[in-house]
């Protein structure tokens, strides 16, 4: 018989066991009688010799080897029966658990998809991204085209590829539309080890200046504009006013840094952008695949070596520039990792509180079931067997909560991702896979074990006989201590979450009240692509921009308009080194300023205060003296408290050899966001007239300019009229990335707001759970003490004394909990401080708000049981004994 058959024939085996033991007894009795004992005595002696029949049977069953299976089935049935008997408790426990496990599972699903699962390229762990570093700028992603070319040629360990941003208007086929594009080096697809779904990747001879204009289009554009037809290969695409031949379709979902629809060969950028030949212009992103047989350490060593060669050879541009490589996955994911782990910790705390809560409920039930358990011990149940039964019950509760939690997670993971502020990297890959399911099952079983352990460990506390004799009133001191420990830990955990939410709230409040440095109201900003037909020569481009300004000014509701390349708090930057003496300081000591090229009305549009001198006017042009306006940070750093107007600074990257004249000083603008600006590396700012941008750079500038307008009507209402007015003769001048400045300011705090919202919800849940826990435990305590209270009242205690007794007891627990929680909250504050930018350290005021909230809520929860205790009728209470 194998174990399955034995299990199957359980009933028959039980009968046989019974029969065998009966046979033994009868034989023994017969023999004793034959020896002359009376039948009664013989029966007694025979039974004594054999021992308790049920105990012997239990031991025989144990010897069978299928015990665990039988017990499990039996315990499961028993647990189900218990659940049915207490549907209210079961429902509340399942609800709390499914919320906790569901939320934890959602967080883990996102972490799993974004951080843990490898990228969907072949051998993703061999893909790296390259970074540059100088003392001056810190670490940055940009590489100059010439450095990229040299590194690609020299590297033995890495196969390099590069790309850069290049959006433009697609005017044929379909309606004119602005699309994001990338210029990619020919090796990019082979480096990633993917191939286009249709057609082919770029050939090396196409990745040359002046080569034939070819393009690879995204899967999305192919579906939209070509109907997903394979004949799209070889057809023409008018992009930036120029016909391109489509040679390939990128795989669906293919992404570099954000979405793109049109890919063109990188080196063809040399046709229009002189910066491609400038070693100081670092705007390419570079990635690489480790060649077979080399590891990341070798790749990094070689990159450092190459960077040193380049620094020796081109000290003017490359002195102090080092290069290194990081795993690509880390780069793509960016800094969302810390937010995700933070949230997982927060939901983990909520789940922990839920577990403690259920544990205390279960324990209360276990104590009241003590007599039942003692009875079962007397009837032959082993203690480990009873403990196992308790654990089976809680594990089932845990798994039930887990199943509901997974269902909840399944329904809410996509809404959660959509709710994420900004764009979550790899968001489209987020789904529940087997790893998430394993996590959910693990979390449920662990929770079940956690809250089942205390009741299970209680089982063998005392001898069965004593318990049976003691009656219903017995309550072990141990259980009281354990219950108090539960309440204390719930309070402490809740305080951690409350204080974290409080700190985030205070931070957000402080950040929101910061002056952004400009007037955020009634301003809209949008990128604008000039009609490709107007990009012929520098004069045409200048005239086209002037035309845009004139037309925009005529739109009703528009008060003033300016062009600018960098909008505060939006992506994009241009940091340039400068100095204030004729001889430049060594490169690593040159200060850096954020430089924006603007038209004269910019100050008025943004409402930036003018501190000294003047802003630009129409006389600052290509023929007149080069001028800049600096912000007060730069003025203070470069010229101290002295008057900066009339001073000169050297900004070689702006083209001219000589210095430029400072004509004005304006207020500092929090360009890097309300939260991020104080910690940013580049804090100085300067403005220079778009009219003085040298002619060779104009074509490039045309691709990055934005239009900003101050309006007399709500700015969103001005967008459509502006869009219509600026469309141009060919109808292909498109406004895109339209924002109001209010939106951008608010978006700069999106991460803090998001965290505050979630922490607030978690803290609220924790508070609620802790209050339920306190209520439950106190109600249980006072219920056990009814006779004692009766005695007290008979001896002269009044209801107020009784209330004081109960509330005092709860206050002790609350204050110990607050004390423990305070220490934990300070530690949590440190973690938050490191992970969230602009975070204010935990201070007394945070706790001055959160602790009273917690204490009052907890006292409120204790009030109901206290009142009930004070209304005990002494006579009934005493009679209960």
């Amino acid at each position: 018989m194998n174990w399955w058959q034995r299990l199957w024939r359980r009933k028959k085996m039980e009968e046989q066991l019974e029969k065998e033991l009966r046979f033994h007894l009868e034989q023994h009795i017969n023999e004793l009688v034959a020896r002359g004992d009376t039948p009664d005595l013989a029966q007694r002696n025979a039974r004594l010799a054999l021992g308790g029949p049920e105990q012997v049977k239990e031991m025989c069953r144990d010897a069978r080897g299928t015990r665990w299976m039988e017990d499990l089935l039996q315990d499961t049935r028993y647990a189900l029966r218990t659940f049915r008997q207490k549907p209210g408790f079961t429902l509340v426990a399942l609800l709390i658990l499914s919320l906790g496990i569901g939320a934890t599972t959602v967080m883990f699903a996102v972490i799993n998809s974004v951080l843990l699962r490898p990228l969907s390229y072949p051998e993703p762990d061999r893909l790296v991204t390259l970074r540059g570093f100088t003392e001056q700028f810190g670490e940055f992603w940009g590489f100059s085209n010439l450095d990229f070319g040299d590194a690609k040629r020299e590297s033995q360990t890495l196969a390099l590829a590069a790309w850069t941003y290049a959006g433009g208007t697609v005017s044929e086929p379909g309606e004119p539309q602005y699309v994001n594009g990338r210029q990619i080096s020919a090796e990019l697809f082979s480096t990633l080890d993917i191939s286009p779904v249709q057609g082919r990747a770029f050939r090396r001879d196409e990745d040359q200046p002046g080569a034939q204009a070819v393009a690879i289009i995204s899967h999305g554009l192919w579906q939209r504009d070509f109907g997903g037809d394979a004949s799209a290969i070889g057809r023409s695409l008018v992009y930036e006013g120029k016909p391109y031949t489509v040679v390939g379709i990128a795989p669906a979902g293919f992404q570099l840094d954000g979405d793109a629809d049109v890919f063109t060969p990188l080196q063809q950028r040399q046709n229009t952008d002189p910066r491609m030949q400038n070693r100081s212009a670092r705007f390419l992103r570079v990635m690489a695949r480790l060649r077979p047989g080399f590891g990341l350490a070798e790749g990094r060593t070689e990159l450092a070596l190459i960077a040193r060669h380049l620094a020796d050879e081109y000290p003017k541009s490359n002195a102090g520039l080092s290069m290194t490589a990081y795993p690509l996955q880390k780069e793509l994911v960016g800094d969302v990792g810390s937010t995700l782990w933070l949230l997982l910790c927060a939901v983990g705390l909520v789940l922990l509180i839920a577990c403690v809560n259920i544990a205390s409920l279960l324990l209360a039930r276990a104590v009241s079931r003590e007599r039942e358990l003692a009875m079962r011990v007397a009837l032959g149940a082993g203690r480990s067997r009873l403990a196992r039964q308790c654990l089976t019950e809680s594990a089932m509760l845990g798994l039930g909560g887990g199943v509901l939690g997974v269902v909840l997670a399944f329904a809410s993971v996509h809404p959660f991702v959509a709710f994420w502020p900004g764009s979550l990297p790899r968001a489209e890959e987020v789904h529940l896979d087997w790893r998430v399911l394993v996590f959910a099952v693990g979390a449920s079983l662990l929770s079940g074990l956690l809250f089942g352990l205390a009741p299970a460990l209680r089982v063998p506390v005392r001898s069965a006989e004593q318990t049976l004799r003691a009656g219903a009133r017995s309550i072990a001191g141990r259980s009281r201590r354990l219950h108090s420990a539960f309440v204390i830990s719930e309070i402490a955990l809740a305080l951690v979450l409350l204080a974290s939410a409080g700190m985030l709230g205070q931070t957000l409040l402080a950040l929101t009240s910061l002056d952004p440095g400009f007037n955020v109201h009634d301003v809209m900003a949008a990128r604008l692509a000039l009609s490709p037909a107007r990009l012929g020569n520098p004069e045409q481009i200048r005239a086209a921009w002037q035309d845009v300004l004139d037309r925009a000014r005529r739109v009703p509701g528009v008060d003033s308009v300016a062009l600018v390349d960098i909008i505060p708090m939006r992506e994009g930057e241009n940091s340039l080194p400068y100095w204030t003496t004729a001889t430049p300081p060594p490169p690593n000591q040159q200060p850096v300023a954020l430089a924006s090229s603007v038209t004269p009305d910019y100050l008025k549009v943004m409402g930036i205060p003018l501190r000294q001198g003047r802003f630009f006017n129409d006389h600052d042009g290509i023929g007149s003296e080069p001028v800049v306006v600096i912000d007060d940070n730069l003025a203070r750093r470069a010229f101290g408290t002295k008057n900066a107007v009339g001073k000169r600074i050297w900004i070689p990257a702006m083209g001219g050899a000589g210095p430029v004249l400072v004509v004005g000083v304006v207020g500092h603008v929090r360009h890097w966001g309300l939260a991020g600006d104080d910690q940013s590396r580049v804090r100085d700012q300067m403005y220079y007239p778009l009219a003085q941008v040298p002619a060779p750079l104009l074509h490039f500038f045309s691709s990055i300019m934005s239009i900003a307008a101050r309006t007399t009507i709500p700015p969103t209402n001005a967008v459509e009229p502006l869009r219509r007015e600026l469309r141009g003769a060919a109808g292909d001048q498109v406004l895109y990335e339209v924002h109001t400045m209010e939106q951008l300011v608010s978006a700069s705090l999106a991460r803090q707001r998001f965290l505050l919202l979630l922490f607030g919800v978690f803290a609220g849940l924790a508070l609620l759970l802790a209050c339920i826990g306190i209520y439950g435990v106190l109600a249980y305590f006072t219920g056990q003490r009814v006779p004692e209270i009766g005695v007290r009242m008979t001896l002269g205690a009044n209801p107020l004394d009784v209330m004081r007794l109960v509330l005092g007891e709860s206050l002790v627990m609350i204050f110990i909990g607050v004390g423990v929680g305070l220490l934990a909250a300070l530690a949590a504050g440190r973690i938050l401080n490191r992970l969230v930018e602009g975070m204010r350290p935990a201070d007394a005021s945070t706790f001055a708000i959160t602790i009273p909230v917690l204490v009052i809520a907890a006292l409120f929860a204790s009030f109901v049981p206290a009142r009930r205790a004070s209304r005990v009728d002494p006579v009934t209470a005493l009679r209960q004994q």
């Binding site: 065998e20 046979f23 033994h24 009868e26 021992g51 012997v56 031991m59 144990d62």
Partner: protein, 115 residues
């Protein structure tokens, strides 16, 4: 039950059962009887642990059992040794013998060495 009876050393019950069963098919009560008789009442067989031990040995495949009639016409569960059980009995008995010899040797040496 007198105090002069000796408790079984740990782990020997299985061996004794195997030995008794090796003599021919036998039921539980007879095993208890025979153990007590053969040991001349020195060994007290704890009847409460006899049946769990029988079931354990059956479960491990050392014993097999079937229901047969006794000479008095009652149905009883008779245990027999399997081939595996016989082999186990031999090895266990041999190792017990070695142990007993070794202990006897040590005790004998101790009394001689004291002089």
């Amino acid at each position: 039950m007198t105090a002069s009876k000796t408790d079984l050393p740990q782990g020997t019950l299985d061996l004794l059962i195997l030995k008794v069963v090796a003599l021919g098919p036998v039921h539980g009560y007879a095993i208890a009887q025979r153990l007590e008789q053969v040991s001349r009442g020195v060994v007290q067989v704890p009847e409460g642990s006899l049946y769990p031990a029988l079931h354990r040995l059956e479960n491990r495949g050392l014993l097999t059992a079937d229901w047969k009639e006794t000479e008095t016409g009652r149905e009883a569960k008779f245990y027999r040794l399997t081939a595996k059980g016989r082999k186990r009995l031999e090895t266990e008995a041999a190792s017990w013998q070695r142990l007993i010899d070794a202990i006897a040797l040590i005790l004998g040496m101790a009394s001689g060495g004291a002089r």
